[in-house]
């Protein structure tokens, strides 16, 4: 039998800095820290000396100077005499507009295509596979440009155009026109009543759930909430003397007047982004549904649930847990891809702040910094919300 003698506390030697795992991580980190500081100071001194040599400084006062350029698609009041920050704000709103529109349609397209791709119908599933493969494998910039040029090439001049859907949609080579909502005095009443109805629906749902837990009886929640949403709002609408109306686009001279004018660039961008992102969402939806094992729906049937309820109560909640996180990151991608608007001349934030403002003022550093900050804040806040959601729906492990 050998006797192991402990040697007592080991003395520190220089070699242990990279041989001993206890110290090695500190060595590495200190080296990394020094490297980062060196690189950082290198870059900063370069920036400072380069800006000085170019006779420039770093400040954001240009944001308050007049922009002196016009933006053709805007959601808020803007004239060319407005300051640059307002141009940037118009751009931000345009980015958000196309992002929200795109996310909604991409979801609709994606869910349809994803579900239909799983259909037992050979023809349908093949068509959907073809759509998904083509849309995913062609660059989105190319799709935007293609849709844009097809619209410009195929749509008629305003004079020759043919209003569709009873005058509600006009497609011309100058853009699309849809009716706008006109509000008169008293319309606030309708909005107020509608908001109260929305709250009422939530109360009803909670009440119905409690009722079911206590008595086992289910109220007809769907019909009731539809009634709550519609009837009071309609009554208020008539009581206030019909303050809300639709203004239809009308042909006046060479162009349409009235209604909402959506430029070709906006519609092309919206459509192309939806088609592209829709294909990715379709794949997520398909993967999510396929990931739920057959045993789950069989168990639900065995419990006596009908297939609609099986879908709603058993399969969907589990599939959504898989589908939603990649779907959100697809929404983020769509928002970032909307910066390609610059290729078709839609004035989003990249087109105003990162395009014309940058070129007019020559303040590349400040503009690109602000632009990046906007996208960073948007995507980091969305991914923070997503992490919270993931945390909420995670499977509680042992």
């Amino acid at each position: 039998m050998s006797v192991v003698t402990s040697e007592g506390p080991e003395e520190f030697r220089v070699g242990m800095l990279w041989r001993d795992t206890r110290y090695r991580s500190y060595t590495f980190q200190i080296i990394a820290l020094i490297a980062v500081m060196l690189i950082g100071s290198f870059l900063v001194t370069n920036i400072v000396s380069n800006l000085r040599d170019a006779g420039k400084d770093f400040n954001f006062s240009f944001l308050w100077e007049p922009a002196s350029y016009d933006i053709n698609q805007k959601l808020i009041e803007y004239t060319s005499r407005a300051p640059h920050w307002k141009a940037a704000l118009v751009g931000i709103l345009n980015t958000l507009l196309v992002a929200v529109l795109g996310c909604v349609t991409a979801t609709v397209i994606g869910v349809f295509a994803g579900v239909l791709r799983l259909s037992k119908n050979w023809l349908i599933s093949k068509i959907m596979s073809a759509y998904v493969e083509v849309a995913r494998n062609v660059p989105v910039l190319l799709q935007i440009l293609l849709v844009n040029s097809v619209f410009i090439g195929l749509l008629p001049k305003p004079k020759l155009s043919d209003p569709m859907l009873g005058g509600a949609l006009v497609a011309t080579n100058r853009g699309f026109y849809i009716p706008s909502v006109t509000t008169e005095a008293g319309s606030w009443l309708v909005f107020l009543v509608f908001c109260i109805s929305v709250v009422g629906v939530f109360v009803l749902r909670r009440y119905a759930k409690r009722q079911q837990e206590q008595t086992g009886k289910r109220l007809p929640v769907g019909m009731l909430s539809l009634g709550i949403l519609i009837v009071p709002a309609l009554l208020a609408f008539f009581a206030a003397g019909m303050p809300l109306g639709l203004e239809y686009p009308e042909l006046k001279g060479f162009n349409y007047k009235g209604g909402i004018h959506m430029r070709i660039s906006l519609v092309a961008l919206w459509l192309a982004l939806s088609i592209y992102t829709g294909a990715f969402i379709a794949e997520n939806v398909r993967a999510g549904i396929q990931a739920i094992s057959k045993g789950q729906s069989e168990a639900a049937h065995a419990l006596g649930l009908r297939s609609a309820r099986t879908m709603r109560l058993i399969v969907l909640p589990q599939a959504l847990r898989i589908i939603i996180p990649p779907m959100i990151s697809n929404f983020l991608n769509l928002t970032k891809n909307s910066s390609l608007a610059i290729a078709v001349g839609y004035m989003d934030v990249t087109g105003t702040l990162g395009g014309i403002t940058l070129n007019q003022t020559g303040r590349a550093m400040e503009c690109v910094l602000l632009l990046m900050a906007f996208y960073l804040v948007t995507s980091l806040s969305i991914s923070a919300a997503m992490n919270k959601y993931n945390h909420m729906v995670r499977i509680r492990g042992r």
Binding site: N46, S49, N50, N121, L123, N137, L142, L376
Partner: protein
């Protein structure tokens, strides 16, 4: 009673041959019933889809093939030959520009040779071939050879400046460089993000989240307008090189997240087993963890490659002449002014073929590497 069995008419003497299956369950008819008309909903879907196909495909065929013009010298000539067919003549007339950009014509054998050698360099990576190590050594020195061939400037090769490069040549340069550098950088970033050294982890997380939070186009703006501010006077980087750096960094952040997913999917026991064997960090990563993690993340890695390849089109926005950017000078030519859709469709077809092939290869690779631990 002694009856002759043969006289009993209702007893079968031999086994009766089986009746043929009902005509609606076998053969083409059965296939159609099962796959197209199995339920009222399916009948409806089939009819709608069939109607849409019948409505659109013949027109598409007429436009793209039957009435198309394959050779002409101008847009007007195309239109006079066939007023409502596609004008593919522009593609054949400008094939040189689409492939090489403005690369000097007498030197085009050099990119051609570089492309052939690229195939040789890729082959041992993609497939198991004999003499693998020799071929892999060639792969390792290939970037130098390609640089020498494409840019020249040494050993008597005439120098070709970057602004002459364009077309699919540029796509291949950016795509291949990005793909081959983003994977190792991505692996390092992913390992850094998983490391328990807090400072290194912070740097990696910050880098990854920053890159993933901004659109590529803003990074390209940085490359085209800002990068000169960050460098000392006189360090004049070539625009293509700046773009290459940005595209590579962009793809490697996405790659890092994909690989992190693979690392997280490995059971904890693999890490512990590697430690128990007495392997140090680098050995355990190289021999145990990364081979498995990378295998799991193949689909994601290839998706990132495909994304990168598609994203190369964005360089047309900052004025490089990739296949999308080269369309502008073609449109500016009075001969071809007015024709756009054909050009876009052609470039789209190119990208589709490449990206689709990559995704199919990833499926093949998944099948080949699967070790049978999945049902």
């Amino acid at each position: 009673m002694q009856g002759d069995k043969t006289n009993v008419a209702f007893v079968a003497q031999n086994e009766k041959p089986a009746l043929p299956a009902p005509v609606t369950t076998t053969g083409p008819m059965g296939w159609v019933m099962a796959n197209l008309f199995s339920s009222p909903l399916n009948v409806l879907l089939t009819l709608i889809a069939g109607f849409m196909l019948v409505y659109s495909l013949p027109d598409l065929y007429q436009w793209a093939i039957a009435k198309a013009v394959w050779s002409a010298s101008s847009y007007d000539e195309c239109r006079s030959l066939s007023p409502d067919g596609a004008c593919w003549a522009v593609v054949s007339e400008r094939a040189g520009q689409f492939t090489y950009g403005f690369y000097p014509e007498h030197l085009r054998w050099r990119p051609n040779l570089a492309f052939l050698l690229l195939l040789v360099a890729i082959a041992p990576v993609l497939y198991k071939l004999p003499y693998r190590s020799a071929l892999l050594a060639f792969t390792a020195i290939y970037p130098l050879i390609a640089y020498l061939l494409i840019w020249g400037g040494l050993f008597g090769f005439e120098f070709v400046p970057s602004d002459k490069m364009g077309g699919f040549l540029l796509t291949m340069i950016i795509g291949c460089t990005g793909i081959s550098f983003s994977l190792p950088i991505g692996v390092m970033l992913a390992l850094g993000r998983n490391s328990n050294m807090i400072f290194i982890k912070t740097i990696c997380v910050g880098f990854i989240e920053f890159i993933r939070g901004v659109p590529l186009i803003t990074l390209l703006f940085v490359a085209s307008t800002l990068l000169n501010y960050f460098l000392p006077k006189g360090w004049d980087f070539d625009l293509i090189l700046r773009v290459l750096i940005m595209v590579t960094l962009f793809a490697s952040a996405y790659m890092a997240e994909v690989i992190r997913g693979g690392l997280a999917a490995l059971p904890r026991g693999q890490y512990e087993a590697a430690d128990a064997l007495g392997l140090n960090y680098f050995q355990s990563m190289r021999l145990i963890i990364l081979p498995q993690a990378l295998k799991i993340s193949i689909p994601g890695i290839v998706n990132t490659f495909i994304g990168l390849f598609k994203d190369t089109t964005l360089v047309s926005i900052i004025g490089l002449f990739d296949p999308l950017g080269i369309i502008q000078p073609i449109l500016a030519d009075p001969n071809w002014n007015g024709l756009v859709v054909e050009l876009y469709v052609f470039v789209a077809a190119f990208f589709f073929i490449f990206c689709f092939a990559m995704s199919r290869y990833s499926m093949y690779l998944e099948g080949k590497l699967s070790t049978g631990d999945h049902r």
